[in-house]
């Protein structure tokens, strides 16, 4: 029985990887890393969310943002103002996420230079959904990048002008998927 050098090296590497994984899991390094990472992520998300809630409850923002009071409670904003942090509930998280997503795609809601763009985005929305369904296996990575960026930008940016400017990359990705969906739809129906 002969074993090739390549096969022997592969076996050594596999044993080494198993050893490293065993060490990381048994020594608590992985658990410690997980706790630190989750703490950091949750703190950041919490900060962004409370910032967003506070922005929505200022007088100016309520005139400009879509769904200004949807799913929010004034108690949360007051709690933020009084520095008493409250646990973020899942329905609230979902509402804020969709609010942010709609804000980044369909702003501005008032008449200005960017109005044609928001009308175009509104018209592209069904094709965007169709594009996701049609090409999901191809574009799931782009979709994840789009969702993460839109969540981060829409939650953090408090002004409409900044939101439009910072959201340009999200808009490009949205139009990419939208145009793919539209092209697929007209090709299918012709």
């Amino acid at each position: 029985m002969t074993i090739s050098i390549r096969s022997a090296i592969n076996k050594i590497i596999i044993v080494f990887i198993i050893f490293v994984i065993g060490f990381v899991l048994s020594s608590g390094v992985a658990l410690d890393f997980y706790h630190r990472l989750s703490d950091k992520v949750m703190t950041d998300i919490g900060t962004y969310l409370y910032h967003h809630i506070l922005t929505l409850f200022t007088v100016d923002a309520r005139h400009y943002f879509l769904l200004p009071e949807g799913g929010y409670t004034k108690e949360l904003a007051n709690a933020y103002l009084q520095n008493s942090v409250q646990p973020i509930r899942f329905p609230l998280l979902v509402t804020i996420f969709f609010n942010g997503l709609f804000n980044i795609l369909f702003q501005p809601v008032f008449l200005c230079l960017h109005t044609p763009q928001s009308i175009l985005n509104l018209m592209a929305f069904p094709f965007f959904l169709y594009g996701i369904i049609r090409y999901f296996r191809k574009i799931w990575g782009i979709l994840i990048i789009f969702l993460i960026l839109s969540f981060r930008i829409s939650i953090y940016d408090s002004g409409v002008e900044a939101l439009i400017r910072h959201g340009m990359i999200c808009e490009l990705l949205y139009l990419l998927i939208g145009s793919a969906g539209f092209a697929s739809w007209i090709t299918k129906n012709s």
Binding site: L113, I142, H166, L176, S184
Partner: protein, 168 residues
Amino acid sequence: MILACGYDVFVSITDKDFLVPDSKAYSIRGRCVSLLLQWYDDKECKIAGLFPNNKVDREIFNDTLVRELRYTLPAGDNETNVFSYIIAFLYSVLSYNTIWPRIFNIVLSICSVYFIFKVAKRQFGDTAANLFLLVALFLPTQFGYSITLSRDFLRVFIVSSTIWVIYG
């Protein structure tokens, strides 16, 4: 490009950048970094007449130079710092004129759209790619903000080039 030149002239005459009001701060910050990279100090700036004549500009310049930068080059991975260095590089190599960052932003904007266009062409075919190109090049945000000194195009370029590397 013509629009950028026109807008640059408009801003220099009226002293108002209504598209991106914080453009001036970026420009002056870039100018400071450019001067610091060329080993200027406060006295030399005054002697060489490099302080802006306008009172507001001079205050921003002083603020940036003395309080924020403290006569040292900005460090860290902050996006503003990176953009300041890029503006400083353009000012140092070409000349102190705000048209260079504007042209730089236009180039970044076109490159970003082109990268996404390549992704669309590879993944979804010619029809979708051409449709995307037609829409994206004339988007008011892409078209309008690319003539300003906005640092957002740097982010757009990095994300679109990353997507192009993965999917293009």
